[in-house]
């Protein structure tokens, strides 16, 4: 019962956040005033004057802003995000459908590498605390999370794609291969399910560097928290009891301490996820990866407001959903948590 009300409350909050994102971006993108049609259409306005009238009617541009906002929300609820000038006036939803899956796959792989590396190094760092190994790991993660994502991406690009030529330097897959039929919606997993190995390997090769760049700028937070959380847990009474029973130090550490020390990591993972998703904007730019981050950047520069609004909403939705899942997971993992 408590769980149900907790879930409901979190859902309401998520909806409020999403609504704020829509409102704020809508107001901001209409802040420019002046000839909004020209701004929305960019260069094409002068070439196709009939498009301008079409747009003015479609978006109710001659009405006050709250009327426009009402129609925008009604459109959104019906799945109509408008048309995207920066992508040849394709429906925004189509462009998102083409770009989001690629972003999801680098975020997914990046998240796995980030958490794996973060937990592994945090464990080693705490196990060998105050030794050169610990110092080395601390220097490594400090360098990682102090680097701008685009800088990390460039380093990986120069080292692994240009110098050693191990991995491709851009794109999402070999363009000679056909895309797999969407099943889950993530090409990497779809090709795996389909058994399309050629595409899977090509997509994986292209995913590795962007995902590694994302992981390297984010794992440090995990390592740092796990290290301090482990050091704290190791001082707990039940650890002393386990040691007093004569248990091997490795068993005490990996079996008894690690399990509890990992609990705060679950709640941290939502921050990592947010960070990963926003960092993809830069990483995709460096690797010319055809994800939604690239779409946002081109939309920003072409003043493609339907595109900007839609991508902001998608980013916010992914982040809010991620946070929701993590919150629920946290409530399940930690029996001590108050659902209040």
């Amino acid at each position: 019962m408590k769980m149900v009300s907790f879930v409901l409350r979190r859902l309401c909050f998520s909806v409020a956040v999403l609504f704020s994102v829509v409102t704020i971006t809508f107001i901001l993108s209409h802040h420019l005033g002046g000839n909004i049609v020209a701004a929305w259409l960019g260069k094409t306005a002068s070439l196709h004057p009939e498009l301008a009238t079409l747009y003015a009617v479609k978006y109710h541009l001659n009405d006050p802003i709250w009327v426009q906002f009402y129609y925008y929300i009604v459109g959104l609820l019906q799945g109509d995000f408008g048309y995207s000038p920066s992508r040849g006036f394709l429906p925004v939803l189509t462009v998102i459908g083409e770009t989001l899956p690629f972003t999801l796959q680098i975020v997914l792989i990046g998240f796995i590498i980030s958490m794996g590396l973060g937990v592994f190094l945090g464990m080693i760092s705490a196990r060998y605390r105050n030794t050169p190994i610990d110092g080395g790991i601390q220097a490594f993660y400090l360098a990682g999370y102090s680097s701008p994502p685009f800088f990390m991406a460039l380093i990986l690009l120069i080292v692994f794609a240009n110098i050693f030529k191990l991995l491709p330097s851009g794109g999402a897959f070999d363009p000679n291969l056909a895309m797999p039929t969407p099943i889950i919606g993530i090409p990497l997993l779809d090709s795996l399910i389909e058994g399309n190995w050629a595409f899977f390997i090509s997509a994986l090769e292209h995913v590795l560097l962007p995902a590694a760049a994302l992981a390297l700028v984010t794992f440090g937070v995990v390592t740092r928290l796990l290290r301090s959380s482990l050091l704290e847990v190791m001082r707990a009474n039940y650890i002393r009891t386990a040691r007093a029973k004569g248990l091997d130090e490795d068993i005490v550490f990996y079996k008894h301490a690690l399990r509890n020390a990992l609990i705060p990591i679950v709640s941290l993972s939502s921050i990592i996820l947010t960070w990963l998703i926003t960092s993809t904007i830069f990483v995709e730019n460096v690797f010319a990866y055809p994800g939604i981050g690239q779409y946002l950047v081109t939309a920003l520069f072409d003043q493609d407001y339907p595109g900007i609004l839609a991508t902001a909403i998608v980013f916010a939705t992914v982040i809010v959903l991620g946070n929701l899942v993590v919150d629920l997971l946290y409530a399940v993992v930690d029996p001590q948590i108050r659902l209040g």
Partner: protein, 294 residues
């Protein structure tokens, strides 16, 4: 026998904590030196710009200081760009941008956070609830995306980026300040101050701010690095300075095409950003350790 080994262990622990202390101090010192170097550079550049003196080896906008795209050498530490401008001079000249954005955004967030957080804690009830829900919503917004949209609405420029970041940066500070303020409000001396007729704002300024400033200072120092990273990202996307003026993030993105022919070009400004952020991280850690010892 037992006592002896105990003593030994105690001694070892003492030496261990002493070593750890030196190590901590070393980290903080390195951080302080890095931060001081960047701050000093920023101040010198800003001051000499006002006076019209040139302290960088070459002018930041001066072209043909050497052959275009020349590799790093003694006369051009980070080489030259396509029109022969000295990259080292340009990086130095851009220091005030990143440093001033980092510090001013955190300073504004700090003040706004203390105000909103302590007022919410002080008033309590529905006011507190509403203010904190509002804070939660702003906190949950994807900061970079909102900053990008604000930046586009305001137009490119260092000042506009600063404003964009200030608008979204305060929620964690408000939460932190509210939490700390709530802890203090239940204590007797605040009650005493209230009974003695001290005005609310005076209590906030004298007692509350004094008590929460330590905790928040640690967060703020670490946070300056985060702001600089965020600003570098906005600058990378071309939302900050306009060419030909230099900026670190913008330099990385404009040199991106030379990763094969002249890889030092994009790496140098990126490396400078990372070093600056590392400085603030180490200093923040140092401040925290110092406060914890106290």
């Amino acid at each position: 026998m037992n006592q002896l080994s105990n003593e030994k262990g105690h001694q070892r622990a003492k030496i261990g904590s002493f070593l750890a202390l030196i190590k901590k101090k070393k980290k903080a010192t390195v951080g302080a030196v890095i931060v001081a170097t960047f701050l000093l550079t920023a101040i010198i550049i800003a001051a000499t710009n006002l006076l019209g003196i040139q302290v960088t080896p070459y002018g930041a906008l001066q072209q043909n200081t050497g052959p275009p795209l020349s590799p790093p050498s003694f006369s051009h530490i980070f080489g030259t760009d396509l029109v022969g401008r000295d990259v080292f001079s340009r990086i130095i000249a851009a220091t005030p941008n990143d440093v001033s954005v980092g510090i001013s955004v955190v300073a504004v967030a700090f003040v706004l956070g203390i105000l909103i957080g302590s007022i919410a804690a002080f008033k309590g009830g529905l006011f507190d609830e509403l203010l904190m829900r509002f804070t939660d919503v702003i906190f949950a917004l994807p900061a970079l995306v909102i900053a990008m949209v604000i930046a586009v609405a305001l137009g490119p420029g260092v000042l506009n980026m600063m404003i964009a970041l200030m608008i979204i940066w305060w929620p964690p500070y408000a939460r932190l300040a509210r939490g700390e303020a709530l802890k203090i409000f239940h204590q007797n001396y605040i009650e005493a101050a209230r009974i003695s007729g001290m005005q609310n704002w005076k209590i906030i300024v004298t007692h509350v701010v004094q008590n929460i400033i330590g905790t928040m200072l640690v967060y703020a120092t670490l946070d300056i690095g985060t702001v600089i990273l965020m600003y570098a990202g906005l600058s990378y996307l071309g939302l900050s300075v306009r060419p030909p003026y230099p900026d670190w993030g913008e330099m990385v993105s404009s040199f991106k095409d030379y990763i094969i022919t002249a890889p030092w070009l994009p790496l140098a400004p990126g490396f400078v950003i990372a070093t600056n952020v590392i400085g603030f991280c180490l200093l923040g850690d140092g401040v925290r350790d110092a406060l914890e010892e106290r």
